[in-house]
Amino acid sequence: MITTNPFAGLAEYGITPGMMMAFVILMVLAVVVGTALDVLHKKSHKYFFEHEERMKKLATRELSSAEKTSMLIQTITSEVLTSSEFHNPKRRLAHLLKMYGFVLFVLSSAVLIFAYPTTADAPFWAFLWHLGAIMVAIGGYWFFFSLRVDVQSEGNKWWNLKKRDLFIVSLLATVTFGLLWSLFGTVVLFALFIISTAVLFGSVYWSKFAHMFFKPAAAYQKRKLMADGSRENLPPFYKRAEVLDQSTMDLVRDIPKDQKFGLCIMKDEPKHY
């Protein structure tokens, strides 16, 4: 079942491979246009560069291009590929499931539609398509029901949907209806799948979709600013042993230098209610 190409039987509904290909191209265009509009209309790119210029004035040293390259690589391996920016390990895991699942899902969809438009037997890509959808579903539903901060920390009920949920809901709808359609193959499920896909990719301008483009850029910028001494005005992140000669540190001078105190407020998950 999960090794069968679900797009192969579309002719039954009178949908030609050309139509599907056109749909995929349309979706790609929707994302490009939505993102471009988002950036241009909100001038977020301008803010991004002006902020960097302003912070550069506070820099205490100049970064070499080798350093910048190394930071770029670190950003890619750490924030982009393993979502290290998430403080909460559960959120990080859920995000990785969603992200890699989504990449597999989109990639395999494109391959199946363009390379195997009428071939039911494309086990490798069909498997990836299903796997991707399942990964998105696992990470997505976990996030949706218990990890969303408005649910976890604000105590909101999961059904209390707002504009911020447009992306996750359309994403979940896409993979859920996609899987159900692949399983049961009814035209209604296929229609729902197509509609939710269209909403997911067509709503970039209004949803949180565009964040996937600015997040890596922001992470890279943060690395640079922390390294060039401007630190976004943050103080150095000292270890206790480094500051024992400060006059106010009398009280901890006698405590072993490698003593760790454990956690207090930060020990618990942020849901005290």
Partner: protein
């Protein structure tokens, strides 16, 4: 509305509010009631709630008997003097004799207390204050309370106390709602210790935009200590004794360490010492109280206020000398970062370097509370071995409602308790509450479903009001029918400011103004039936407003009752502009009838601790009289 009703039953000790006094209560209760059910209901998150959420750079109440520094009675005399005589000395003595044991435990738990490198004693800031690195003061005491309590219910806004229906005037628990989930919480308890906060924001603030949040006392101190007790019909005392603070302008950063430890001092715009300009005037108003040492806080305020009105403002804190010493400069900055970060932000924004200029001081809008240099709060019983009969009815820190205890801001007549003293009062109340239960005083409490249902309906009414009357208008905040909590707050602040001696009246009021004010407050209370809340956050603000308005009303009645000006510099009764020891050397006590809302006022006798010091003083006074 689909909010659940959650009943927490069989509680022995319910602590309402977990600031310093609430954490002290919960902590201690476990020792005297090892098998008792101890529950905390806290409006925010216990790790950062109450007035110490931001941290403190000093513990302002520490005797140091261990180092031979002060005795408890010395502190009583100090607080008595500062409050122009109007304190409950039994309660003060009791707090002072226990307070050091709390501080010694804080040190053991990990609170960084500074020590004088030469003497090994705690580093004194002044006679009563010791210096600490108290950024995590609150998380540390919170951990103690969490360890002792059976359960801490965070984010519960307690709105009302439950009353026993079997026995008149006995408490039965409390109700409130969860600010996150919205669920209705019913706490059925044998005793309740009200350890909630005093009242900020009941007077119009000097800063009215964003800066309204930079109040001297925490904005979340919503007068619930008073609102809850007054609603339950507990007697209150000294509610007229609101406090005005002389602080750094706009940021209201602390001045204690600056005066005491950094040895800074004040001067007027022309570099003159100015307090002596007002000596004669004060001598006429308050007589020999002006000759006391140290000069009572309110009288020093008076000099500052009058000097500015005389056109010789602003008043400056002279920091330029002390701050040349890099160590003292560092202490000065840590002092702000440890307890009033906003003052550091303000100076950073304005490029103020106290090494190079002398920052401005000002007097704040008034605040109503009971643990700083003022003693508003409930009329509570003192300890058996100290209190005279008028001050004692069985259980230490119990209000006039059976089973209902008060500590910290909630206990009246005990100023200068500060953080450590409030924690200690919580401990005292907790022990007494355990005793009360063990004596069988809490048997047979009855709470009907009807009482609970009525309260439930009342609590959620603002949400209902909003939903229904939202349909009347297109958009915006202007409605002919309902009142938003912010609108009600500002209306109350204006009434208090203009009729009850706020900052724009230079703290002046009189009988006529107060009567008009009470009438206007009555209209506000009627309109508050139509308070509207769009969400749970606003519902929280609605109930905070209720507590603030109940506090305001008590302040008005008390101010009206005391026909003298006892604390020039805190407020002035223009129709009685002098201190009157002959008629008013008494404590004021009020009770609001919960059924009718009517106030009754009475005078309670003032007892003083008398020892060698006082007898010596009396002798001198008599000799002086004879000589003249």
């Amino acid at each position: 509305m689909a909010y659940k009703t959650i009943v927490v039953d069989n509680i022995d000790i319910l602590v309402v509010g977990a600031g310093l006094s609430g954490t002290g209560a919960a902590w201690e209760a476990r020792y005297w009631g090892q098998d008792k059910k101890i529950v905390i209901a806290e409006k925010a998150n216990i790790y950062r709630s109450g007035a110490v959420a931001m941290g403190l750079y000093a513990i302002n109440c520490y005797m140091g008997t261990r180092f031979g520094e002060n005795n408890p009675e010395d502190h009583v005399r100090y607080a008595r003097n500062d409050l122009m005589g109007m304190v409950r000395e039994d309660l003060l003595f009791d707090m002072a004799r226990h307070v050091d044991s709390a501080v010694h435990q804080f040190e053991e738990w990990g609170l960084p207390l500074m020590r004088d490198p030469e003497t090994g004693k705690y580093q004194r800031e002044g006679k009563w204050q010791i210096m600490i690195h108290g950024e995590s003061y609150k998380p540390i005491v919170a951990m103690a309370a969490i360890k002792s309590a059976d359960k801490v219910y965070n984010r519960i806004c307690v709105t009302h106390l439950l009353m026993d229906e079997a026995k008149e005037n006995r408490v039965a628990g409390a109700v409130g709602f969860n600010v996150r989930t919205g669920d209705f919480y019913v706490f059925k308890s044998k005793t309740v210790i009200v350890a909630a906060g005093g009242a900020s924001m009941i007077y119009k603030p000097r800063s009215t935009g964003e800066g309204a949040g930079r109040v001297w006392y925490a904005p979340w101190s919503s007068g619930s200590a008073y609102g809850l007790l007054i609603q339950a019909g507990a007697k209150m005392t000294q509610m007229e004794n609101r406090i005005v603070l002389a602080r750094f302008k706009d940021g209201y950063g602390p001045v204690g360490a600056y005066f005491l430890h950094l040895k800074t001092y004040t001067q007027n715009a022309y570099g003159e010492e100015y307090e002596s300009h007002w000596y004669d005037e004060l001598k006429k108003m308050v007589g020999e109280y002006i000759d006391h040492h140290p000069v009572p806080t309110c009288l020093r305020n008076h000099a500052l206020i009058r000097e500015v009105l005389a056109g010789r403002g602003p008043i400056h804190m002279v920091t330029m000398h002390s701050f040349q010493d890099p160590h003292l400069e560092e202490v000065g900055w840590h002092n702000f970062l440890g307890m009033t970060v906003g003052q550091a932000v303000l100076w950073a924004a304005n490029d103020v370097d106290p090494k190079c200029e002398n920052p401005e001081l000002t007097t704040s809008e008034p605040y109503v509370m009971g643990s700083h240099a003022t003693g508003c709060g409930a009329w509570v019983s003192g300890p058996e071995d100290v209190s005279p009969p008028e001050y004692f009815w069985g259980y230490n820190r119990m209000t006039t409602v059976h089973g209902l205890f008060g500590a910290g801001d909630a206990a009246g007549g005990t100023p200068h308790a500060f953080s450590s003293g409030s924690f200690t009062e919580g401990r005292l109340a907790a022990k007494a509450a355990c005793q009360y239960i063990d004596d069988g005083k809490a048997e047979g409490i009855v709470v009907s479903e009807r009482q609970i249902e009525e309260l439930r309906e009342k609590i959620y009414k603002p949400l209902e009001n909003y939903k229904i009357w939202r349909n009347e208008i297109v958009a915006g905040t202007v409605s002919p029918t309902v009142l938003l909590p912010k609108q009600g707050l500002i209306r109350m602040q204006k009434i208090m400011d203009e009729y009850c001696g706020g900052v724009s009246m230079q703290y002046m009021t009189n009988e006529r103004l107060l009567n008009i004010g009470l009438m206007k407050l009555q209209l506000l209370k009627e309109d508050m039936e139509m308070l509207a809340a769009a969400d749970l956050h606003e519902l929280l603000r609605c109930w905070e407003l209720h507590h603030r308005v109940l506090t305001s009303e008590a302040v008005m009645h008390h101010t009206l009752f005391r026909k003298e000006t006892r604390w020039p510099g805190y407020y002035y009764r223009g129709d009685h502009l002098y201190l009157d020891d002959e008629n008013w050397h008494v404590l004021t006590v009020s009770r609001r009838d919960p059924k009718t809302g009517e106030y009754t006022m009475e005078k309670a006798p003032l007892y003083h601790i008398v020892g060698d010091v006082e007898e010596e003083y009396e002798k001198k006074k008599k000799a002086k009289k004879k000589a003249s």
